[in-house]
């Protein structure tokens, strides 16, 4: 399979990202850092240790992951919608000798890159304002979650941006599905806080595998293989689904 078209489209998206990087980073970092300051520092005295670590440390990996995956999702969903419905640039790509799959793969790569860049940027800021330091192996293990996690959310964004024609719908899906899914997955509290009957269900969510797994990898220094596989397989499945759904939509 040829990827020349994907690369050209990804290059275009990265050029635009680079051009707006300072303002994008300020906007994207503001939210997780506000949460971090409010909960991690403001509430520190009230919460104490969670699962044996300070609360600020407990939520740090989740905030970085959250930034990455929401950035990947938003970029993909809005970019696809905008290029398809507003600018009609997708049509202008489609009259060149590249395939529809090349277009969607290019857009998935772009969303994914947005996620990684913005997640890492927030990670660096948290690193700079906290005393927490991690060994290199932990960071590597963490990337084994961050990378497929961003890919998963980028693909999910592509699917939503492909099937939804109205911007209101996109906003609602974000508020009703994406944010709750992220917040319920053990970002701010341990899974043990859930009633025991609910725990298996929550654990089955791919976002739980992502957030729990990422924290265990970064803070605990263990590598939760099952969680990692769960995230990777989910990413692969959404990738296949995204390509298939986009191709179907374009064939209409």
């Amino acid at each position: 399979m040829r990827l020349r078209g994907s690369f050209a489209i990804w290059r275009r998206d990265m050029l635009v990202l680079r051009r707006n990087l300072p303002s994008e980073l300020v906007a994207v970092a503001a939210y997780p850092l506000t949460i971090y300051l409010a909960f991690g520092i403001g509430m520190k005295g009230y919460i104490g240790l969670v699962e044996g670590v300070p609360y600020g440390l407990f939520i740090a990996p989740g905030l970085i992951s959250m930034t990455a995956v929401t950035a990947a999702y938003s970029e993909s969903v809005w970019s696809l919608w905008f290029h398809r419905r507003v600018q009609f640039t997708i049509d202008s790509y489609r009259v060149t000798p590249i395939s529809v799959s090349e277009i969607v793969i290019g857009k998935i790569l772009s969303g994914f890159s947005h996620g990684l860049v913005k997640g890492l940027a927030v990670g660096l800021v948290i690193f700079a304002i906290t005393p927490f330091r991690f060994p290199l192996e932990h960071l590597m293990a963490y990337l084994a979650f961050l990378i497929p996690g961003s890919a998963f959310f980028s693909c999910a964004g592509i699917i939503c941006g492909t099937v939804m024609d109205k911007p209101e719908t996109i906003g609602r899906v974000e508020a009703v599905f994406i944010m709750p899914l992220i917040f319920m997955s053990g970002l701010f509290f341990p899974l043990s806080s859930y009633p025991p009957a609910l725990v298996p269900w929550v654990r089955a969510l791919p976002t739980t595998a992502l957030f729990e797994g990422a924290r265990q990898a970064l803070v605990g220094g263990v590598f939760p293989l099952v969680f990692a596989l769960q995230v990777a397989v989910t990413a692969l499945c959404t990738f296949v689904a995204a390509v298939w759904i986009f191709r179907r939509k374009m064939a209409e």
Binding site: R12, D91, V95
Partner: protein, 309 residues
């Protein structure tokens, strides 16, 4: 040599709506072909099928002998497309828009840089290449889209309403640019400006409600549809109705229409004009003039005068 475009029984349905019905069309290579029709006639639908953006419901469509259903990629190598909506990337400068397009066509940087320079110069956009297209006037944006469509030296250029919404000066400028680049390329354009088709096209097709209703050169169409243009306007000082009644009885008068003091007479052939004049002997005739029916009238008479949404 295959035809540049060939469609056979081409049909497209959007749910219950049939946008294109049993459409047969053949366009020769190297010609400038105009497809005329009011809004909603099905012009864009046809272009979207030919440019592989959409699949037909049934029938065949070939571009340069290649089947639109199975040889999309090969077709897209040969065509340039100026869509009805501009589809420029407002986050890229004019030049970056062109560079992206060149890369999607797999052109090498050393090759496309020079080609972009030449085309920008030719299209009068060289001075604005570093600006973003949303700062351009409508005519300049249109020229940029045309430039983009020409970049990879297509054999066949599709233009979907290239000048709709432009002021008369910009429209003429776009025509000049199109003429100057035509060369040996086949150009397929849609429009609802008859003047545009008359000015630019070798052959014209008129369509409405998804059907082809007339096809020929501008001159042929006018002659065929207006009976060769033997239409005269006779203005009387008074009694127009009375004289019209006299004329209506004559064998060589094909059609007659009275509006106020003017009688409009369509003759079978120009030779019977003298008979008409003889019959009007002594009548208070103020003026007789030959009325050239414009393509516009042909168009309105074929597609009806009602406003299309």
């Amino acid at each position: 040599m295959p035809s540049a475009i060939l469609t056979r029984s081409l049909t497209k349905q959007y749910g219950p709506l049939t946008a294109l019905t049993d459409f047969h069309l053949e366009v020769d290579q190297g010609s400038i072909f105009g497809l005329l029709g009011p809004n909603g006639a099905g012009k864009t639908t046809l272009i979207r099928i030919l440019t592989t953006l959409m699949r037909q419901s049934s029938g065949d469509a070939f571009v340069e002998g290649l089947d639109t259903r199975t040889q999309g990629r090969e077709i897209r190598r040969l065509i340039g497309v100026v869509p009805q909506e501009n589809s420029l990337d407002r986050y890229l400068t004019a030049r970056e828009n062109l560079e992206l397009h060149a890369r999607l066509h797999g052109m090498e940087a050393r090759h496309y840089r020079q080609r972009i320079d030449e085309l920008l110069e030719l299209m009068g956009l060289a001075g604005r290449q570093k600006d973003f297209p949303d700062t351009f006037s409508g005519g300049m944006q249109r020229r940029l889209v045309v430039t983009r469509a020409l970049l990879h030296e297509p054999r066949l250029l599709f233009l979907d309403e290239p000048t709709t919404g432009l002021d008369p000066q910009s429209r003429r400028a776009v025509w000049d640019y199109i003429r100057s680049v035509a060369g040996s390329m086949t150009i397929f354009l849609t429009t609802h400006y008859l003047e545009e088709a008359e000015q630019l096209c070798d052959r014209i097709a008129i369509m409405d409600h998804g059907r082809l209703i007339a096809l020929g050169s501008t001159q042929e169409l006018k002659e065929r549809l207006t009976g060769g243009g033997n239409v005269y306007q006779i203005e009387f000082d008074e009694g127009a109705e009375r004289y019209a009644a006299v004329l209506r009885e004559m064998v060589c008068v094909r059609e007659i229409e009275v509006s106020g003091r003017t009688v409009c007479v369509a003759l079978e052939e120009w030779e019977c004009l003298s008979e008409v004049i003889a019959a009007l002997n002594g009548a208070p005739v103020r003026r007789i003039s030959l009325r050239e029916r414009t393509l516009e009238e042909v168009f309105i008479s074929l597609t009806g005068a009602g406003v299309r949404e």
